[in-house]
């Protein structure tokens, strides 16, 4: 940050007639230019799109710093906000939507395309390098004269003065783009939307009548105050359907069998020493006593502490 501030003040304060060839700017350039090239190369050669996006973000940030060094602080900030802030996040969002794991296939679909592309790229870089290298460019004049009140004021002057018509057209382009995105992602309904009453009737007709009142929620017990623990049915057995299928697919949930074994152990412990080791179990919820299979016969009526009791 110190470097940025130093360069910004240097770039802003340098008089119009100066050559602008400052060592601070050179150091900044030789740090940022390799970073930018590294990021660009990473984008092209990274296998996964996410890595490519992160590499591109490095390039964008480096370019933002270079803009500030080039006496364009406004553009530097816009680059940071619009590109690394908005555009890259949009890209990452779509990458997540499309699938992070989708990596490129290395199969060449057009024969000789890679060699041809490599040759063409070589030609492009030789051509552009020759032009850039052989042009006898004068040392920069600097924008101090063009922007006496500062960069932002001068840009505002131009934007709402000479280029105001372009500004209006660009506004129209942005609105068109927003409408276009909405039109493109709009999905036509093939059937009428069901009302709430129809959905409720459908649930009673089509679904298992036992589930009509809703599925039992996962249990809350003194041992596992968590959603990975199944609810208990009135007969003391765990309700497998009470755990989210996502947790089961991830292997993060405790299966009903596991939980039954746990319950049995808990029941044995309490049966042997009348639960002196875990007093909090009884005081906090009182569930562990009811939940044991041994006590399950007597609690058919009052097991309403879990919603699983209402499903049966």
């Amino acid at each position: 940050m110190n470097l940025l501030a130093a360069v910004a003040t240097q770039a802003g304060d340098s008089p119009a007639g100066s050559t602008g060839s400052t060592t601070g700017e050179e150091i900044l350039f030789w740090i940022l230019a390799p970073l930018a090239v590294l990021g660009a190369a990473g984008l092209v050669f990274a296998r996964k799109a996410v890595h490519g996006a992160l590499f591109l973000a490095v390039t964008m940030v480096s370019l933002a710093f270079l803009y500030i060094a080039l006496e364009a602080p406004f553009l530097g900030v816009v680059q940071m906000v619009v590109y690394t802030g908005a555009v890259m996040m949009l890209f990452l969002f779509v990458i997540m939507l499309v699938g992070v794991d989708a990596s490129d296939s290395r199969v060449e679909t057009i024969r000789g395309q890679r060699v041809g592309a490599g040759l063409a790229l070589l030609g492009v870089i030789i051509l552009l390098m020759t032009v850039a290298g052989r042009a006898a460019l004068p040392d920069p004049v600097g924008t101090a004269q063009a922007a006496p009140d500062g960069n932002v004021y001068a840009i505002a002057d131009l934007l709402f003065g000479r280029y105001v018509w372009v500004f209006e057209v660009v506004a129209a382009v942005l609105i068109t783009a927003a409408v276009g995105a909405m039109v493109l992602t709009h999905r036509e309904r093939t059937s009428r939307r069901l009302t709430q009453r129809e959905m409720s009737e459908k649930r009673f007709r089509d679904a298992d009548p036992q589930q009509a009142a809703g599925q039992p929620p996962p249990g809350v017990y003194a041992r596992h105050n968590a959603v990975d623990t199944p609810a208990l049915l009135p007969d003391g057995t765990p309700a497998e359907t009470s755990i989210s299928p996502v947790l089961i697919a991830r292997g993060a949930a405790r299966s009903a069998d596991e939980f039954t074994i746990d319950l049995r152990q808990l029941g044995d412990e309490e049966g042997s020493d009348a639960a002196p080791t875990e007093p909090s179990d009884d005081s906090t919820s009182g569930m562990s006593g009811e939940a044991t299979p041994g006590a399950a016969e007597g609690n058919d009526g009052e097991a309403g502490t879990t919603d699983g009791g209402e499903a049966r």
Binding site: E25, A41, A49, F74, S105, A117, A132, L137, V173, A181
Partner: protein, 99 residues
């Protein structure tokens, strides 16, 4: 600092961006490469604006950024739409119109 070094950097970035468009099959990566090419052009604009001591180059770079943002919105909408119908983000899979 002479603008030549900035021009060379812009050239390298532009070439790498066009390489990404030519070589990568993932539509998203190709699209990001287009953004890279636009950024390289912007860098050249800003460097020239400073060389000439006029701010018009910066204005042009600013408009390029706006158009790039609009382009990203539309392009990503198209990619999402293609993904919804074809379940793939590869440019090779959207070839139904080919003979």
């Amino acid at each position: 600092m002479n603008p030549t070094s900035y021009l060379v950097l812009a050239t390298i970035l532009f070439t790498l961006g066009s390489g990404g468009v030519l070589l990568r099959r993932n539509a998203l990566v190709a699209f990001m490469s287009v953004e890279l090419m636009l950024n390289a052009a912007n860098l050249a604009f800003v460097a020239f604006a400073r060389m000439h001591g006029a701010l018009d180059g910066q204005i042009v770079a600013f408009f390029v950024m706006i158009i790039a943002a609009a382009e990203v919105v539309i392009g990503l909408a198209i990619i999402v739409m293609i993904f919804r119908t074809r379940r793939s983000a590869s440019v090779d899979d959207a070839s139904l119109l080919k003979l």
